[in-house]
Amino acid sequence: MTDVGINAPELGRVSEISIETLAGPKKRARKEAAIRSFFFFAASVSVLISVLIVGSLMKETWTFVSEVDWSVTWGEIGWFPRQGLYDMPTLLVSSLIVTIVAMLVAGPLGLGSAIYLSEYASKRTRKFLKPILEVLAGVPSVVLGFFALVFISPQVIERIGRNGWLVIGALIIVVYLMLVLGWARQLVRREAGTELSTQVKRVMVLTLLVASALILIWWVNGVAGSSDPEAANFFTVKGSGQLAAAAVGVGILTIPLVASVSEDALASVPDELRQASAGLGARKMTTTVQVVLPAAVSGIVAAFIIGVSRAMGETMVVFLAGGAADQAEFTASPFDGGMTMTAAMASLATGTDSVVGEALTFQSLFFVGSVLFLITLALNIVASRFVNRVREKY
């Protein structure tokens, strides 16, 4: 602070203090401006990177889109990039299966952990319990991939087996339908009290009903096949490494993320709500389920969407434990080997030093990457809307 440029005798003569004196020497202002522009440059690097990502995806994707024969990208037998068959439904359906199964694991476990940590745990137990999630969040995805391949696949998925999964599938359907119906009943009851518009409600109910119908069809298909033990169907567990094993691994990786975003949402609910509820004589569980959870619903939805986005972008677990290498036939069963968008990209990049093969193989890598990028981007934008809604509310 030696270059401040004002010394005591000058200050003594009041008449000589001008704007210039207070602003200090020009040199100092120039230095400050230079430092400011250095920081601005550093901040704009992230904009540059965003532009570079979009740019590098676009160039090769454009080559693929303009040159590919579109008939090989839809309705073919599977994803065989080195033979020039780029069947997108194979990858999209596998990604969807992995995401759904992963969220069946991460959703309840993550939310349950978050509720316990935020509502029930005392400060001291929190100190012991929180590190579980922190360690889990630090486990690299290759490790989970290894675990999914050598433990989850043989010891869980294959051991439970076809009949076990039929029963578990039925249980999931029953629980899911009960939740949907219970929730719909509540919606009807408290029509005026919720902040969601009727239009959003209609869309949500419709989506849930369609999802229920699809799950029902999936399960009925499994049951129908069971009369003929030879016939392969949805619930026949195949090979070493299945989409379901990989998906459970992905789900385990997603638990800490869902937990931490939901915990933030729960923590942002003001204590006055809890106190008012307790004051009215509500028990802890009633307060949690009927007051805190509805108040934090936007943040919890955001946590789930971020979880979906993360699960869809997870690569190594599916690459290692998904049960398909280099190529995959179309499958809609989680108990079959398959290839998600991410695993297909990793497969394309391994094997040889660089991506070689049929003319458009290299470009197909970027095409799949663009599709994945757009899906996750859309999910993240929707999620941040929900997060902002919580921020605005409290």
Binding site: A42, I53, G110, Y116, Y120, P140, V142, G145
Partner: protein, 341 residues
């Protein structure tokens, strides 16, 4: 009469039970147990995972731990020279790249966003870019690295090579980024990958600096840079350090972008000793490379599970590295949270 009943201890407990519902709220305690078991499942998974990898890697770790750390990639699982030294070296250099590229830029960006940025369109754009980058899947960063830093193009040369030609000359005679997958490409890709995480955590730490500190410094005539240098950054340092350690451990465990960038999963010729000359030292940055997670991926994907013990042992080493970093980060944060109340 009321007094006499209340004086009775058993009755008092009964009344308290009636009021507080202790031991009667079966649904409530069931719910609580259910929630706790969610955390229990996570703990169980962690324990089973640890037991699994340690028991898989035990045959290697117990018989030849030092040889395994110093050995190189081999095609036979029983080879005495088999080991992970190349992976460790690759991961070390990737950590160096992240430290020297992502940390300065990330922390500076956070300083700009928290201390300088005004509420205008440019700030909104930067903020949106950072938030969206944090959600981009890691493979997509791999594509960026593959396109820009491995395949290269005239744009890459224009952006990265020509302006810094003097720099690249240090590593290799001809310009880098010409269709070769290099350690530089891998390191830079991971530095880009963790940049948004560094920015977000550092910005959070800076936001937590009490504004009274800033006002006090301004009051005695400090400039903005003085305030940042002498007040904001020292106060936010523990939080920033926690974030950087977490992102470093993320970079070391990340495999997908490196696979896209073309890290070597199979055999890799052993490198000459660093001692054999400065040329050999600098050249490794422009040469083929591997890293810990990639070594593991390579061994898991070998047919017939013959490399499973080696993969298990390598995972144990990687987990020790990553968990040590995370624990230091978390311990640091808890220590300072406690100290500052």
């Amino acid at each position: 009469m009321v007094a006499s009943t209340l004086g009775n201890n058993g009755a008092k407990a009964r009344v308290e039970d009636e009021i507080f519902g202790r031991g009667r709220d079966l649904r409530g305690s069931g719910f609580r147990t259910l929630l706790l078991s969610c955390l229990g499942v996570s703990l169980l998974v962690l324990v089973v995972l640890m037991v699994q990898v340690v028991s898989d890697g035990w045959s290697v770790l117990s018989t030849r731990p030092i040889d395994f750390l110093t050995g190189v990639l081999r095609s036979q699982p029983g080879d005495d020279a088999l080991g992970i030294s190349q992976g460790l070296v690759g991961s070390f250099w990737i950590a160096v790249f992240v430290t020297f590229l992502a940390f300065p830029v990330g922390i500076a960006a956070a300083v700009y966003l928290e201390e300088y940025a005004k509420q205008n369109r440019v700030t909104t754009i930067i903020d949106t870019a950072v938030r969206n980058l944090a959600g981009v899947p890691s493979v997509v960063y791999g594509l960026l690295g593959l396109f820009l830093l491995v395949k290269g193009s005239k744009y890459t040369n224009w952006l990265f090579v020509h302006p810094f030609n003097w720099f690249w000359k240090l590593f290799k005679d001809e310009a880098a980024f010409q269709g070769q997958s290099t350690l530089i490409a891998g390191g830079m890709t991971l530095a880009i990958l963790v940049l948004p995480i560094v920015i977000i955590t550092a910005a959070e730490a800076i936001r937590a600096v009490p504004s009274s500190l800033r006002q006090g410094a301004y009051g005695v005539g400090a400039t903005k840079w003085d305030v940042i240098r002498t007040q904001v950054l020292p106060y936010a340092a523990p939080g920033i350090l926690t974030g950087t350690l977490l992102s470093l451990s993320r970079a070391i465990g990340e495999a997908a972008p490196l696979i896209l960038v073309g890290a070597i999963t199979g055999r890799l010729a052993p490198r000459e000793s660093v001692l054999s000359g400065i040329g050999s030292f600098t050249e490794q940055f422009a040469d083929k490379f591997t890293a810990m997670p990639i070594v593991i991926v390579g061994w898991i994907r070998q047919p017939g599970e013959t490399f499973q013990p080696a993969a298990g042992a390598a995972i144990v080493v990687l987990l020790i590295l990553v968990i040590a970093m995370n624990s230091v980060a978390v311990a640091l944060r808890n220590y300072f949270e406690k100290k500052r109340g």
